[in-house]
């Protein structure tokens, strides 16, 4: 790449960044949609008419915003407290920084990640579903009701991702909502390996049942007899009477065996 074309590119990039900065009041997705492809279009404009054709980024942003049906200049959001306002500005700045970072990398990384977003919306719904299953008990259920719950989670997650149900408006006015969404996304990323592991364990267990049949799992404390768990152990005397309070020790003599398993 020649020095001249590098200069032109950096000039175009700076122009696009300035235009983007004048749209921080818009939802991040809207700002991204409005400015995606701008670099290519402006590069062509500059190639045809020179860098002076770029004009004033402020005028450009006004025209772009008006064309898209937004107020010509950024409307200051009404915020009640200084701290949420500062947090919102910080989040806006972090988002703009992230956008610029992605754009500075070679290849269309942003386009690639954007294409992956629907998959992530489904994945985080599934993580939430697995967490719900985990909170309910140790087993993973794949029956009808749980599948309905999963479908509901997917719908909510996709709608959040699409900024439907007025979520876009909420995210531009409420720092708490925005932080909550960031927190939920980060939690989903953190919980994803555990959820995958849990499902893998469940699949392995299911296969084990298919291969070995209904064999009680020896959890280290269960007594099994002929492939099934013995729920009640009783010690009886020679006359067959149950000896109350008696215990049975395992072969090692190190622990007593469960005499009456309620959950059995």
């Amino acid at each position: 790449m020649s020095e001249h074309s590098t200069d032109v590119r950096s000039e175009v990039l700076a122009f696009v960044a300035r235009v983007r900065d004048l749209m921080t009041d818009l939802p991040p997705d809207e700002r991204q949609e409005l400015t995606a492809g701008l670099e290519a279009d402006l590069s062509e404009l500059v190639a045809e008419h020179g860098a002076e054709a770029l004009g004033d980024p402020g005028d450009y942003a006004r025209e772009l915003r008006t064309g898209a049906g937004h107020p010509p200049v950024a409307v200051r959001r009404v915020r009640e407290w200084a701290l949420p306002a500062a947090a919102m500005e910080a989040l806006d700045a972090a988002h703009a920084h992230w956008d610029r970072l992605l754009d500075s990398l070679p290849g269309d990384l942003r386009g690639f990640l954007t294409a992956l977003r629907p998959a992530w919306w489904v994945a985080r719904a599934w993580v939430a579903w697995m967490v719900t299953q985990d909170l309910r008990g140790p087993y993973v259920f794949l029956d009808g009701l749980w599948l309905v719950v999963l479908a509901a989670y997917v719908v909510v997650s996709v709608q959040l991702g699409r900024r439907a149900w007025r979520v876009d408006r909420l995210l531009t006015t409420s720092v708490a909502a925005r932080l909550l969404l960031v927190g939920l996304n980060l939690s989903a990323v953190g919980l994803l390996p555990g959820a995958a592991d849990n499902l893998a364990w469940h699949v392995a267990e299911e296969r084990g049942w298919q291969v070995y049949g209904d064999v009680a799992v020896d959890d280290g404390n269960a007594v099994t007899y002929q492939g099934g768990q013995a729920c009640v152990l009783e010690v009886r005397d020679l006359q067959g009477r149950v000896i109350e309070g008696a215990y049975v020790w395992d072969a090692t003599g190190e622990r007593t065996l469960p005499m009456n398993v309620d959950a059995c």
Binding site: L38, A40, D41
Partner: protein
């Protein structure tokens, strides 16, 4: 008369018509509009309009990566965009005919 004011009312229609003829990226659409006679059109207005029409479901978009430079965002028309083009086109023709008739025969408007 300043054609910018006139353009505002029909920019959606003009953009839909151009994209209906062939998919295109922002600057390409601007160029085709200018070639079609709308020389005063501002490129940012067109980009904003494209975004708005896309958000309304009248256009679809896809990214075409470029090895030589930044990727291009192409726009195409959707079935509902085509329906809107037909509706707005009919409105425009009716309106233009009325105004032309009025200009040619202003006496006819006097009751």
């Amino acid at each position: 008369m300043d054609s910018t004011q006139l353009l505002k009312g029909v920019l959606d229609l003009a953009v839909l018509a151009v994209v209906d003829a062939e998919d295109g990226y922002g600057y390409d659409i601007v160029r085709r509009l200018r070639r079609g006679g709308l020389e005063d059109i501002g490129d940012a207005s067109v980009y904003g309009t494209l975004r708005r029409l896309y958000a309304a479901g009248l256009l679809t978009s896809y990214v075409v990566p470029s090895e030589a430079g930044p990727h291009r965002k192409y726009y195409g028309i959707t079935p509902s965009g085509r329906g809107e083009l037909k509706r707005q086109g009919e409105d425009w023709r009716r309106f233009a005919t009325s105004v032309t008739t009025l200009l040619d025969h202003p006496q006819g408007a006097i009751a």
